[in-house]
Symmetry: C2
Subunit: 555 residues, 2 copies
Amino acid sequence: MSDPRKNTRDIYPATGTELTAKSWLTEAPLRMLMNNLHPDVAENPHELVVYGGIGRAARTWKDYDMIVAALRDLEDDQTLMVQSGKPVGVFQTHKDAPRVLIANSNLVPHWATWDHFNELDKKGLAMYGQMTAGSWIYIGSQGIVQGTYETFVEAGRQHYGGDLKGKWILTGGLGGMGGAQPLAAVMAGACCLAVECNPDSIDFRLRTRYVDEKAETLDEALEMIARWTAAGEAKSVGLLGNAADIFPELVKRGVRPDIVTDQTSAHDPVNGYLPQGWTMAEWKAKRDTAPKEVAKAARASMKVQVKAMCDFHAAGIPTVDYGNNIRQMALEEGLDNAFDFPGFVPAYIRPLFCRGIGPFRWAALSGDPEDIYKTDAKVKEILSEDAHLHNWLDMARERISFQGLPARICWVGLGVRHKLGLAFNEMVRNGELSAPIVIGRDHLDSGSVASPNRETEAMKDGSDAVSDWPLLNALLNTASGATWVSLHHGGGVGMGFSQHSGMVICCDGSEDADRRIARVLWNDPATGVMRHADAGYDAALDCARENGLNLPGIL
Amino acid sequence: MSDPRKNTRDIYPATGTELTAKSWLTEAPLRMLMNNLHPDVAENPHELVVYGGIGRAARTWKDYDMIVAALRDLEDDQTLMVQSGKPVGVFQTHKDAPRVLIANSNLVPHWATWDHFNELDKKGLAMYGQMTAGSWIYIGSQGIVQGTYETFVEAGRQHYGGDLKGKWILTGGLGGMGGAQPLAAVMAGACCLAVECNPDSIDFRLRTRYVDEKAETLDEALEMIARWTAAGEAKSVGLLGNAADIFPELVKRGVRPDIVTDQTSAHDPVNGYLPQGWTMAEWKAKRDTAPKEVAKAARASMKVQVKAMCDFHAAGIPTVDYGNNIRQMALEEGLDNAFDFPGFVPAYIRPLFCRGIGPFRWAALSGDPEDIYKTDAKVKEILSEDAHLHNWLDMARERISFQGLPARICWVGLGVRHKLGLAFNEMVRNGELSAPIVIGRDHLDSGSVASPNRETEAMKDGSDAVSDWPLLNALLNTASGATWVSLHHGGGVGMGFSQHSGMVICCDGSEDADRRIARVLWNDPATGVMRHADAGYDAALDCARENGLNLPGIL
Ligand SMILES: NC(=O)c1ccc[n+]([C@@H]2O[C@H](COP(=O)([O-])OP(=O)(O)OC[C@H]3O[C@@H](n4cnc5c(N)ncnc54)[C@H](O)[C@@H]3O)[C@@H](O)[C@H]2O)c1
Ligand SMILES: NC(=O)c1ccc[n+]([C@@H]2O[C@H](COP(=O)([O-])OP(=O)(O)OC[C@H]3O[C@@H](n4cnc5c(N)ncnc54)[C@H](O)[C@@H]3O)[C@@H](O)[C@H]2O)c1
């Protein structure tokens, strides 16, 4: 039997203004599902893999086809249910209800391990949804660029007086998310050395201008870094190698990067991390035939890499876990001080989350870049005072190649998101934009995730592991009328370590959409402010008061 | 500081037709929350405990008061969010959205243990919601009587040719749920010996006519059983004692019950199971001061009890786990064959779940028993051919004392539930009933729970632990317009072992309610049929076809 997950088809979403489904509310998830598998967007579209190890958009190709058929057929008062990438039901709801409801990779906690997941996966009973892969709002590496940029800028502010000129960042992994690192570093004014074991990933980033140069040896890469930092030039190099070899080697040589982090897919020991001494071919083959052996070897190598990261940290170099759960893996391998260095959220991002600020994003269903440029201009007009944001939009336009449907990311929070949504909807209505816009966000956002090794690490009140919050977020977005809503387990930190929810809303230009947008794009970030206010953060409490939130047990 | 969970107040819901909130859609959750804490309903209302160990209706008394205040103030296009028994936000939604959204006790899987929960609980950051305690649709022991009755009847059918006359059932626990066992046994025609360590619990069941007699010694109890079974009389006795002492003693004596089970609160080793050799007073005191010691001793005793249950099973006596996870506890204590005897769902209940049949229930917000009697008659009229159901309703009316707001339980499935709902709504509209009715169900239902040691034990396709299903159920009920929707973790099998969702819908007599009822009471059981059809059960596939369900990836 052929593998139900392998196919040679190339998927492209429809573009333009002609509907291929019954309305824009169903056309939107249809185009975005296809966009997730667009050859320029997905990491391995022929195996349905969008990004982040084995994060998929549908369980099998057959399921993909059935989802497409169901969406084409769906009425505007019906709702399609998707269970781990498989379409399982169409039910009568109403026009203000979501058109699609999604639950991916959720397991009862006692069984929420990679072993059990892999067993189910092999039987065809599961799919790894990552965050935006199985919920159809991945927009390529751009999705992560601004978050990474904001993180590096904040690190520069905290450690280097706000100036990263002549500084360099060491990291690993140039995959779907990690590929954003060199570009974000350069945008923030720093150089970057990224260790990546897959030559194709480096070439992909070169082609899309996310990385500037490629090196085959460490010496070559270090020579470039030395030259660029001396000249005060912000440039990046992808070094072909294994991070578990290169990181300790740098420690041994006494080389001092200015910031150290990593974005290999360490959250998934079977599929995400090349063990030391293995070739790519060997790794690929054994993932299927001997997954346990792969995981064991990968975990051992992760421990070596984290040990080196701890050494950098001990030497006073700002070192940060970039959300791939690599510290946990090393801890489980017996590296007791694996959590010596912090995660990036408590270090740099939480103050933003307290105000509901996170990776807000939108895409132009028309496929026309002009639609995005017009929304860029609208954002600048509405947020006319925000110089930092104007700067970001200018850089993004200049440096970021669109992948698939043109899209934009822009970290904004409560009080702003709904204004942008309403403005975009108005632009659709009056014909300024050629077709509807969808607005969504990463699951990594302020109110949508419980992830004690990442987004909710070291919460002020110790509530890191409480996952009522993302569940409430999903229920409220459903009640508010988002166009599709998703609930995932696993994601960026792997099985057992997080629960999170996503939402996307379609601006089809209608007045019904106005009402939904006003509710959803207010309520969604407000749940983030609520969650952080409940944990006792002053910034969140202030934000809640300023915005007049009604939080009975909190305010 | 005084304990925020202790108070001497007695809570009674309003009755009659006068509103204490702004509409029946908010009056309904208000009365049902209060009803959960009614002195005749809750096991320990002064500590906010409704049933099932520490299953609470609100996190603290302050939270209770704030929930009440928020509900009184809530508009019909607003939604109150409740996070582990605390009211955390009021948001703008719309009239077809739920008025309350609830998430209780949910923890990220890696941290989903009693230890971590108890730590959070101590800090005031958690509440155990059980199933219907924190979701405000507990209706006293009646809620479980019919399920237990159906289970005993089915056991009689499978093992004793459909006749339980002269047979007797051995069990443990006469708490909120377990208290239903003697009555259900008697209704099914059998005698029952129930071992209970708390004299108050026995007295409570005597008072409410759930148990017929009380015994202080095993000899006394066995004498009654011998006498009744010989006479072919169906009667029950509550024996004061520790099940971990009595069960092995019976094995030792060679006494052979006809069916063996148990409903102590074994799912919660700290609060739910009296260790052997301890007094009740000692147990109560140490739960607060030395919880770990209690848990250790309780687990050791559970192992002893399960060992005896395995012995009964080995001796050919039908023995079944009644959903309190006691096998898992014994297994973790090293009793390798703890899972020798099955759970009650795969043994007796799954065929019902395949057709969406489960513990459907309703309550009369008027407080008037006549309203329930009228609905009883309506059910008989609509299901005029169903003799088994008529029989149940007659027995229920005769034998079951209402607790708190009058309520009825009735196991019905897809295709019937919405009909009953619409009929009740019509009766409210035309004044046949004096006030609105709420309709809900247990979380233990066909589409609403993932619980590999109970409801989803031994699923045909091995998908026991997949919890996408209850999450989809909650999202769909939210999208369909239930009046309140809840998502819980833990419940009857304890931390880490289940995820489940609840829903309640208010029949206020309006035409809007007609539309919502038609959607919710169809979609909700349909998700159960969908879940079992996906797992490959023929009965579910047939039911889906008969009812014309649209299940793209399944049918
Ligand atoms: N911080 C965040 O905001 C955030 C967001 C999303 C994802 N993540 C996490 O970051 C990680 C990377 O995500 P992604 O989408 O880029 O994943 P990916 O699987 O697309 O890319 C991982 C890359 O790492 C490379 N790699 C694996 N082992 C290596 C090794 N030993 N040495 C060098 N390179 C190696 C792979 O070849 C691949 O290119 C994941 O764990 C993901 O969950 C973080
Ligand atoms: N099968 C089902 O449908 C179903 C439904 C709900 C709950 N449950 C489970 O059944 C169990 C009982 O539920 P409940 O609501 O009655 O709980 P409860 O806490 O109200 O009652 C438990 C009773 O067991 C008694 N008990 C404790 N240890 C004992 C011992 N060693 N010997 C004798 N008696 C002992 C307690 O005194 C108490 O009266 C729970 O684990 C619950 O989760 C099963």
